[in-house]
């Protein structure tokens, strides 16, 4: 039963140890691997667009800026796209009345936006095929019934 006398000193030592750890200005480093995109904006002459205003548009909402920032002295700007938003990311850079927009496909090859894309001919063709499918099905079942009626 002597060991019970050791409980208090050991508890104090444990507490001291924990306290020491907490007061040691510890550092913690975690990491996640992500894909960053670096753009470099220059004028036609090759000189950098230092301080150029950058606007990034995500593929799921191309009308609303997803991120805004400024190019560094070398015309560079780095951003990390949201990996849950695959598609074409649009990046616009403007400065002093000049600008450009670049389109960066990221992740799956997903169309950004766009109209229906079907021509009138395609719509008519698809409609005809669908109608014919229904008609064919109906004729098939009606023939079976007639055959059963005759048999």
């Amino acid at each position: 039963m002597k060991w019970k006398w050791l409980v208090l000193p050991m508890s104090l030592m444990l507490l001291l140890a924990l306290t020491t750890t907490a007061s040691a200005h510890g550092a913690k480093i975690e990491y996640t691997i992500s894909m960053a995109v670096e753009i470099v904006a220059t004028y036609d002459t090759g000189s950098p667009m230092t301080g150029g205003q950058v606007t990034v548009y995500a593929p799921d909402d191309p009308a609303t800026p997803w991120l805004e920032g400024v190019c560094d002295e070398e015309g560079r700007f780095v951003f990390t796209p949201d990996p849950t938003k695959p598609g074409t990311w649009d990046v616009q850079v403007r400065q002093a009345g000049h600008g450009d927009m670049i389109h960066i496909p990221i992740g799956e090859d997903v169309a950004t936006t766009g109209g229906g894309g079907y021509s009138t001919f395609q719509i008519v063709l698809m409609s005809t095929c669908v109608i014919w499918g229904f008609v064919g099905t109906a004729l098939f079942f009606s023939r079976n019934r007639r055959e059963y009626a005759h048999s």
């Binding site: 191309p62 649009d90 002093a96 009345g97 389109h103 936006t113 894309g117 109608i131 109906a138 007639r146």
Partner: protein, 266 residues
């Protein structure tokens, strides 16, 4: 024996109803604007110190077409637009970019009310010679005055060549060309007249001013404080170098906001 036919009719009607629902056209209104920006509406000081104001800036536009391009059009590479959908504005339109006050909105050239919904990320237009009216024979007519050190020159500069501009997406404060079903969107044909005269608020060694003729070369062609010239007159009265600068800079007038365009001259 009637039941199969009843079933057939019901199925056909069902198919038509489904198709009517699926095939409903998704359209909206697409507006085409032309904009000479504050340079035209408010005037500016040229790179060589002439305070320039504009009374009229007539441009004649034809074959104005918007595209849903895929891939996005690259004006630096040039070539044709690869479009899944395109919308054309009928007719030839002469508009005055100087119309309205200093804070007037861009000039509405026209609109298409049944444009397919989607993102219009490219536009092309031709600047053609007008066939009638006071600007007949010219694709661009610039009327205004320039003042420096008490000297005033009233100018009318007339441009005969025709230009075809093909541009990617509008570059500016807000994104343009996003057309929703039953909604409205606009595209802009922007013209940068500081490219001709330069801009005193931009450093002289900036590309803009390096490539701009300025106003001084035109002064020598004025008579009695009036300059009324076409391109043949300028070729005859300007130095070869100055005239070539004018020729070279005119194709760069057309923009989409701050975005550059590919241009072909005819």
């Amino acid at each position: 024996m009637r039941k199969p036919y009843h079933m057939l009719i019901v199925l056909v009607l069902l198919a038509l109803i489904i198709l009517a629902g699926c095939g409903g056209s998704e359209t909206g209104t697409l507006q085409f604007n032309a904009n000479g920006e504050d340079f035209v509406r408010q005037g500016f000081v040229s790179k060589d110190g002439w305070a320039i104001t504009f009374d009229h800036v007539y441009v004649t536009l034809a074959d104005v077409t918007a595209y849903q391009s895929d891939p996005p059009y690259d004006p630096h590479a040039g070539g044709e637009v690869e479009a899944t959908t395109q919308v054309a504005l009928d007719g030839i339109h002469t508009v005055d970019l100087a119309e309205g006050g200093e804070d007037a909105p861009p000039i509405l050239v026209g609109q298409v009310t049944d444009a397919a919904a989607g993102q219009y990320n490219a536009i092309s237009w031709r600047m053609v010679r007008a066939s009638e009216g006071t600007t007949a024979g010219y694709s661009l007519v610039v009327v205004g005055s320039a003042e420096k050190d008490g000297q005033t020159i009233s100018f009318t500069i007339k441009v005969e060549p025709e230009y075809t501009y093909t541009c990617g997406e509008y570059v500016g404060d807000k994104r343009k060309g996003m057309l929703q079903k039953d909604g409205a969107a606009d595209l802009e044909m922007t013209f940068h007249f500081d490219h001709i005269f330069g801009d005193t608020e931009t450093p002289l060694d900036d590309d803009l001013n390096v490539g701009a003729p300025g106003f001084e070369p035109f002064v020598g062609a004025a008579q009695g404080g009036t300059l009324d010239v076409g391109m043949p007159d300028l070729q005859a009265q300007l130095s070869a170098a100055d005239y070539q600068m004018v020729v070279d800079i005119l194709p760069t007038l057309g923009h989409v906001g701050e975005g550059h365009c590919h241009c072909e001259t005819r």
